[in-house]
Symmetry: C2
Subunit: 382 residues, 2 copies
């Protein structure tokens, strides 16, 4: 099974290879490669795309992932909106949409709603439920990854330790991954944009709240309680007069998060309104976003020293509107982090922008599907 | 080679096992296990320790690491003192000492000095140079791990990018590991004290300076430039009037590090003097250490949120004298870090204390030796 997984990873990586190259990259014997490749071809998971150069004998067949063999479902569930997509096995979006959503409706209603949306999206693509290889969702709170449930999530009342996998698998017979939304974004950004050039990436989400996701040595680092990356409740010692709903004082999120900024700048309106005002370049809002970026930079500078990533990607609704927040973050990080930690640091806006969450979910779903005994059973290899 | 490594790891873990159990733990076929075990027995790297219970046939031979087969050399080189040891292959110290040291003498003189000390210590143990399986050293500055050199280390003038491995291998024909001192301490603490109970550990060293070492999923996490764990230069925004030698303001180390405390409390004296005063319980010093602990706690609380370790170990010369510093750190971390990140957190003094560095160095040297082609060549296994 490990060998099948290793070979599948080469294809999932997007490579076009012949059998000899597959053997070289994985260290697997030629005869074993041939037998597994035969199974993958029969199952339709890979396909031939012509022949390579002959090195004397018959020219070698070139192989690649057959990304149209099936689909995955990805969901980015936010506090107020959910974005869902159906993607092919290369992670390319085939159908996608965004809808208002109230996580406070609880897991049963939200999952039922999500399944309905997925069914509509699937219809658009022409694929059926039997073609679904995996499902992944990001949720706005701490997640115990091994259990697939949220743990004491402040903005998700009613979700605490509710097992989500069985709820979803009532409707879809495929492996289900549940993770914290920022972890999902970090993984999507890493896998689609950076996997060949960087091993360590920190993704900072600046939206209603503030959080971060950590990719360490190419893998999501979740920490001992799945709580890693929580920069939103780091204290700003010069803001201890600000009280945070978490019960503490001076938390970054309570000073520079979207909810806090909205209450301060445009009381009675929503974070979405604030984002729209920023998009229009309204003069009241821009300096406040730049200053929020500087404040966030104080905490992020410490995270850069501690974690020493090679990529620091800034995302989230407020993080990707114009350059305001990121410019503030840059000012402080390049002043405050150590010379060594910033020497080769790429501090960049998320290239996936508002889609980081759904793209990340699709990516996680595919990664899990290719690691799944179910796929191997289908291949009759396992 | 991978298989030999997997089997060796079971012995290095300290287990006493029969061949069947070795196969179970590693997933290696019985015949392959027997052949490799034969090689390890011939090489004297493992030994028989009696027989287990028969399950019908001949009672199985029990095997364990022959820790007296050879030795490793470990060095913890500090700014002003060096501690060196010779340990057996289980990491047990056979000869050990501490001496004053000036890293500013440069790598050639310090390495020559270190080799002399190692030769003296080796003589005490009765082992010879031919018995040395590996050498590891921790140095007080950032290290590019793959190259085995220090990078722009502030308190090690003359060491910048000087390749240390060849310097040492002129004298000792064994694999050499060079790492940052706090990484080495973190690994020693993790491996000897926690490896069966924790995966993620943060080791905070409070000495002349302040730094941390990160064990993530059981491995040293070094970051992209080998700079990970540098909490000493995180800014305290309420101390921006304090200028740090690094060129920035309000750095944790410039406010709460041993050098800063000494200059403030007992100007003209040394950090060692301060440690001695604390050991004697002098009333001028205790409240300042407690307060320094609180200040360190502000930064460490953020690191706990970001990294979510299950063990936070406090070490370093000032960190392990009495409970003063750790009590201050505890106060703030349990108040300031999130509920989820502290729910199961063990915030404890380093159990290895002042020996964390040398013990960690010995541990790293053994881990590398058992991963080394040289050992396998000796085993004629390939």
């Amino acid at each position: 099974m490990q060998i099948t997984r290793d070979l599948l990873r080469v294809f999932w990586d997007g490579q076009i290879v012949d059998r000899a190259e597959l053997g070289r990259q994985t260290g697997v014997a030629r005869s074993t490669v041939s037998s597994i490749v035969g199974g993958l071809l029969t199952a339709g998971l890979i396909e031939e795309v012509g022949t390579g150069e002959s090195t004397g004998g018959r020219p070698p067949q070139l192989l690649r992932l057959n990304s149209r063999r099936g689909v995955v479902l990805g969901a980015d569930l936010g506090a107020t909106h959910g974005r869902l997509l159906v993607a092919d096995l290369a992670g390319v979006s085939l159908a996608e949409g965004e809808w208002p959503l109230d996580m406070a409706d609880g897991p049963h209603r939200v999952v039922a709603w999500m399944i309905d949306r997925f069914e509509d999206l699937l219809k658009e693509t022409g694929y059926s439920e039997a073609d679904v290889y995996g499902v992944a969702l990001g949720v706005p709170g701490p997640v115990e990854f091994s259990e697939g449930w949220a743990v004491a999530p402040p903005i998700m009342p009613g979700w605490d330790k509710v097992p989500l996998r069985p709820l979803i698998q009532e409707h879809v017979d495929a492996p289900v991954v549940v993770d914290n939304d920022v972890n999902v974004m970090a993984y999507g950004e890493y896998w689609t944009q950076w996997r060949h050039r960087a091993e360590n990436l920190l993704f900072v989400k600046v939206g209603t709240g503030i959080g971060s996701g950590i990719i360490a040595s190419g893998r999501v680092y979740r920490g001992s309680q799945g709580a890693a990356g929580d920069i939103g409740h780091v204290a700003l010692t010069d803001h201890l007069h600000v009280i945070c709903p978490c019960g503490n004082r001076g938390c970054l999120e309570a000073v520079a998060g979207g909810k806090a900024l909205t209450e301060r700048l445009v009381p009675g309106r929503t974070v979405r309104d604030l984002v729209e005002m920023a998009q229009k370049g309204e003069a009241d809002v821009i300096p406040a976003l730049r200053e929020a970026g500087r404040t966030i930079g104080q905490v992020v500078a410490g995270a850069v020293n501690l974690f020493n990533p090679s990529v620091l990607a800034i995302g989230g609704g407020l993080g990707v509107v114009g350059d305001h927040v990121i410019t503030g973050i840059k000012e402080v990080v390049f002043q405050r982090s150590t010379v060594l930690a910033t020497r080769d640091l790429r501090l960049v806006p998320s290239r996936l922008g508002n889609r980081a969450g759904v793209v990340g979910a699709a990516t996680l779903a595919i990664a899990r599907a290719f690691d799944s005994p179910r796929v191997w059973a289908q291949l009759e290899l396992g």
